[in-house]
């Protein structure tokens, strides 16, 4: 269970997330939708211990995730820019994940590379936007983390890659249920994927949507 109580994230005088209170039961796929600057990434960064909350509390499985070795090991947060070196080859990035992540599934990663037609000899800086996004999917899903967070993961993906992503995501989720959070500002795209959302001028808390339950907002 992810429990947020009055969670606040500030950057100087700018409030990115304002006293958010929320419970997310485990083992489901969630979509986090919101416009640019609505605080999605700040919230996800706190969930993944990339950033400390300015105020409020956060509990993942009953514990504060910040600098919690056990929880961080079981969390994968893939940002749209990817936290890798542009000079590295895909093979080096995957090797690093294999070295550091006890739950890393190398065989699954290799299969996903085939699905997304990624050549592991390519350097990151030579990849297109969509290929980078595909690599993000590989890193996120093959981590086999209990909490998998994919931020704007299908930016630049073409229709084929996007369809492959949803297919793989759902197949893997059904095989190994876990908590997955997808964030996007492409609200129309998310709606087209069957979430059936109608979004008004709502706060970020209301933008958390349980996709597997078919838009239970």
């Amino acid at each position: 269970m992810i429990e947020l109580r009055d969670l606040t994230v500030r950057y100087g005088s700018t409030v990115a997330v304002d006293r958010l209170t929320l419970d997310l039961p485990p083992g489901k796929i969630y979509g986090l939708l919101g416009r640019n600057g609505s605080g999605k990434r700040s919230l996800l960064s706190v969930l993944a211990s990339f950033r400390k909350a300015s105020a409020g509390t956060i509990r993942v499985g009953g514990a504060d995730p910040f600098e919690n070795a056990d929880l961080m090991r079981r969390t994968a947060f893939i940002r749209d820019t990817l936290d890798v070196s542009g000079q590295d080859r895909i093979s080096q990035v995957l090797r690093m994940a294999r070295w550091l992540r006890p739950t890393w599934d190398a065989a699954y990663a290799a299969r996903l590379l085939d699905v997304f037609e990624l050549d592991e000899r390519r350097r990151i800086q030579s990849l297109s936007r969509g290929q980078r996004s595909s690599l993000g999917v590989v890193l996120g899903l093959a981590a086999r983390a209990d909490l998998t967070i994919l931020d704007e993961v299908y930016l630049g993906m073409d229709a084929v890659a996007r369809a492959a992503f949803y297919r793989e995501l759902l197949a893997d989720y059904l095989d190994r249920p876990r908590t997955i959070i997808l964030s996007t500002h492409l609200i129309e795209t998310a709606r087209a994927q069957g979430a059936g959302l109608t979004l008004g001028p709502v706060g970020i808390q209301e933008l958390f949507v349980h996709l597997t339950a078919g838009a239970s907002r």
């Binding site: 990339f50 600098e67 820019t81 936290d83 070295w99 992540r101 981590a143």
Partner: protein, 229 residues
């Protein structure tokens, strides 16, 4: 020390071991060629090229490693589920033995160079003499200076990584204090007149330790920044 720190150390070692081998091999080759050129031209080196070139290259490389650890590796490791604390400990496990190892190579190479130059009957009037005593003194000096460079590299990077441009520039003043003290009192130009060598070494170690502790506090809850790279 947590198992995760050891994993960080092992991974960093895998990354840097080949680089260290290449670095040392290139230095050996380059300085051997330079020495050979000097000898063949009947020059009389007034200094140890190994001590000058390798000694400088080693400390600047450690400075760069300190910077790269924070600016590049920190987010890679955290993104792979490693805590900042384990990353810091793992980095120290890599950096400190590396700094000591490179420092050992300074007098060791100097001794080898001296032995090779004196292998023939040639007398080198200007080349500085080498003995076990001078080698040990050089080792102690190099260890302190090399660790100072590593810590300063880390500290400069932490200041910029956490606070960005202008505050980062301001934080360079304390961040570079280890280098300033170590080089000022133990560097090539120092004579020991201002401060005896032992006291200078103790001061440099103390300043390096204080700066390391201060910047470790800044690192322990630093937000992991996004980059476009």
């Amino acid at each position: 020390m947590s198992p995760s720190s050891m994993v960080v150390f092992t991974v960093l070692q895998r990354i840097y071991r080949p680089v260290a081998v290449w670095f040392t091999a290139l230095m050996l080759t380059g300085i051997a060629i330079a020495d050979a050129v000097v000898v063949r031209s009947d020059g009389d080196p007034a200094l140890s090229l190994w001590r000058l070139i390798f000694g400088s290259a080693a400390k600047y490389w450690l400075l760069v490693i300190g910077i790269v650890l924070v600016t590049m590796h920190l987010r890679q490791f955290v993104a792979n589920g490693v805590t900042r604390r384990d990353f810091t400990v793992g980095s120290a496990l890599l950096g400190l033995p590396l700094a000591v190892g490179l420092a050992v190579l300074v007098p060791a190479g100097n001794g080898l160079e001296s032995a090779l130059l004196h292998a023939g009957d040639h007398a080198w009037a200007a080349y500085p003499g080498f003995s076990v005593a001078t080698g040990l003194a050089e080792l102690g000096r190099s260890v302190v200076i090399d660790i100072a460079y590593l810590v300063s590299g880390l500290a400069v990077a932490v200041g910029f990584y956490r606070y960005g441009g202008r505050p980062g520039v301001l934080l360079m003043v304390p961040a570079l204090a280890p280098i300033a003290v170590a080089e000022g009192f133990l560097g090539a130009g120092s004579t020991g007149d201002v401060l005896p060598v032992a006291a200078a070494a103790a001061l440099a170690v103390a300043v390096t330790g204080l700066v390391a502790a201060f910047f470790q506090r800044l690192l322990r809850d630093v937000p992991i920044r996004r980059t476009a790279g």
